[in-house]
């Protein structure tokens, strides 16, 4: 009798060990996939990186030279996307967390945000083409690309900002309101400053996405090849993600330009993951320093 009970117990713990093993393994697979990918990119890309690669434009129909115009273009597009997505996203989040009462309209807005977050990047590209490039006649330009990317990252920023605003203790607001401060001033002077670090780190993850997206800028901003740097918001630009795609699939000599491709991939990954990593480090530091 006791023996069967012990056996049953052993079996239960054996199942637990087996399950934990599988769970650990799946976590390990994911970590290994990321590690392997980064290792491969760094090992193959590091050889192509030089000062000239980063500061010179491509030459010999993009088979030699650097990627400077693509780096500059990506920075322009990303800054443009932030300029549009960040204010819109933060203000939306302020309304949703500080002002809105639960109700049907809020529900519709939230569903709208969720659906917007799920719109495929290539559909954003079509939207940018159909609306900004064609309907508003911006042409393929930094402006059209930035607007498209800005709206693409807006849901991410709203999510991050909502979370950061909700994390501000209710007592902060109550103390301020009790002193006779108006709701708007409380939001602006008390709640927003307290939430700002959280909003920024959360948003940075969205910003990394803007820098790395390809499909939304293919028809709205990206040029196959230009040597001159953009002079106005209505110019086309080269961009790192699109440059990788072009070199790897449609370049004049795909095999020969392989080192350039690896180098460009490394620069893009370093840029995007560098941005993300900064956000992650600051956030974990902030969590430890938390004052409330």
């Amino acid at each position: 009798m006791i023996e069967t009970k012990i056996r049953a117990m052993k079996w239960r713990y054996f199942r637990q060990h087996a399950f934990f093993g599988i769970v650990r393994l799946s976590a390990l697979i994911i970590a290994a996939a990321l590690g392997g990918l980064l290792f491969y990119i760094i090992v193959n890309g590091i050889g192509a990186i030089s000062w000239d690669f980063i500061t010179k434009p491509p030459t010999d129909s993009m088979t030699k030279g650097g990627i400077m115009p693509a780096i500059v273009g990506t920075i322009y597009l990303t800054v443009g996307a932030i300029a549009i997505g960040l204010p819109l996203g933060v203000v939306s989040a302020i309304y949703l967390t500080e002002y809105a009462r639960q109700g049907r309209i809020i529900r519709i807005i939230k569903i709208g945000i969720n659906c917007l977050a799920g719109v495929p990047s290539v559909v954003f590209g079509l939207f940018g083409l159909g609306f900004f490039v064609v309907f508003l006649k911006f042409g393929s330009s930094i402006l059209a690309g930035s607007l498209t990317l800005g709206f693409l990252i807006m849901p991410t920023i709203i999510g991050a900002a909502e979370e950061a605003l909700k994390a501000v203790p209710q007592t902060f607001r109550e103390a301020s309101l009790a002193l006779g401060v108006s709701k708007w001033q409380t939001t602006l002077r008390i709640v927003l400053p307290a939430a700002l670090p959280g909003i920024l780190t959360g948003s940075i993850l969205g910003i990394g996405r803007a820098a790395g997206e390809t499909a939304p800028i293919m028809f709205t901003a990206a040029a196959y090849f230009t040597t001159k740097l953009p002079g106005s918001l209505f110019d086309e630009v080269m961009a790192l993600p699109y440059h990788i795609y072009v070199l790897a699939t449609a370049g004049t000599n795909i095999e020969q330009t392989r080192p350039l491709q690896y180098g460009t991939v490394l620069v893009l990954v370093a840029l995007v993951l560098g941005i993300d990593l900064i956000a992650i480090v600051i956030r974990s530091y902030m969590r430890k320093q938390k004052r409330w």
Partner: protein, 295 residues
């Protein structure tokens, strides 16, 4: 009095800003329909959706996107098959099992994985996975369903993992404690108590992961091979809808039939992901998690 008026004005201005998301969604619909609907004057909806031949540049052109829809669903299905176990199990590991330091590191790793640009993953699939598949299985091409599914799975894992993790955290502590108090092992508690309570959240995670996979463009553009035909095996190439749009839009003459057909494909893709997202939203609201902590 003036202060109240001012506060009210601020409130309505903020409300207008909050409407921007809905407005953008409406503008997306407007632009897609404006550029895409004219195709249906030439091709019937039935022929467009169920037509078996996609020869947009032949004479006369044929615009049947059925093979593209099939391609999209196949790669989505297989990537989900790979990503769901890995995503959900890693979420269980993070939320229930891993010690503090490993947990933080793993969460950061998954966030970084989510941050890797899709074009980079597509590039990796093209020049590492494809040649390997081609040599190992002696195939005519390594750019096929298997390759695209694996790479798409890598993209979908962070979505599935992080949303599942939130759902697991939301299971109230009383449930777990009650289960332990009854003598259940940790494994039994996880599978019989925590998982069922978190099921709606995990389902949401899976649906959103699928939505991510079906809409992902660069990976299928670079890795799926691009054959607009119904595949017969997992080693065949396919041409999912996003790949077709991205590859052909550059060459399609402005406001020509081909251009309109690509926008119409965009409508189909948009509607599909919209359905996925609405289902996810419905599931997470209808089947709210029970217990003191709700998702």
């Amino acid at each position: 009095m003036t202060r109240r008026i001012k506060e009210n004005i601020i409130k309505y201005v903020l409300f207008l800003f909050a409407l921007v998301s809905v407005l953008v969604l409406a503008l997306i619909v407007f632009s897609l329909f404006r550029e895409g609907l004219p195709i249906f004057q030439k091709v019937s909806l039935r022929d467009f959706l169920l037509g078996m031949e996609w020869y947009p540049t032949s004479e006369p052109p044929l615009f049947g996107i059925f093979p593209l829809i099939v391609g999209s669903f196949i790669v989505t299905f297989f990537s989900t098959l790979i990503a769901v176990p890995l995503g959900v199990l890693s979420a269980i590991y993070i939320a229930e099992i891993a010690p503090g330091s490993i947990k933080e590191i793993l969460k950061s790793l998954i966030e970084l994985l989510a941050g890797i640009p899709s074009v980079v993953l597509g590039f990796f699939g093209m020049i590492v996975v494809a040649p390997w598949l081609q040599e190992t299985f002696d195939l005519p091409t390594g750019l096929n369903i298997i390759n695209a599914s694996v790479i798409l799975a890598i993209m979908a894992i962070p979505t599935i993992s992080s949303i599942s993790e939130d759902a697991l955290y939301a299971v109230s502590r009383e449930f777990k404690e009650a289960s332990y108090a009854l003598g259940a092992t940790k494994f039994e508690t996880i599978t019989r108590v925590i998982m069922p309570s978190a099921l709606s959240g995990i389902s949401t995670a899976v649906i959103l992961g699928m939505s991510r996979a079906i809409g992902e463009t660069m990976v299928v553009l670079m890795v799926a091979g691009g054959a607009a035909a119904i595949p017969e095996s997992l080693f065949d190439s396919v041409r999912p809808m996003p790949a077709s749009i991205a590859a052909e839009m550059g060459e399609a003459p402005y406001r020509g039939l081909h251009y309109q057909a690509l926008f119409a494909t965009g409508i189909v893709l948009f509607v599909l992901t919209l359905i996925f997202n609405l289902i996810a939203d419905y599931v997470s609201h209808k089947f709210r998690q029970s217990g003191s902590a709700t998702l």
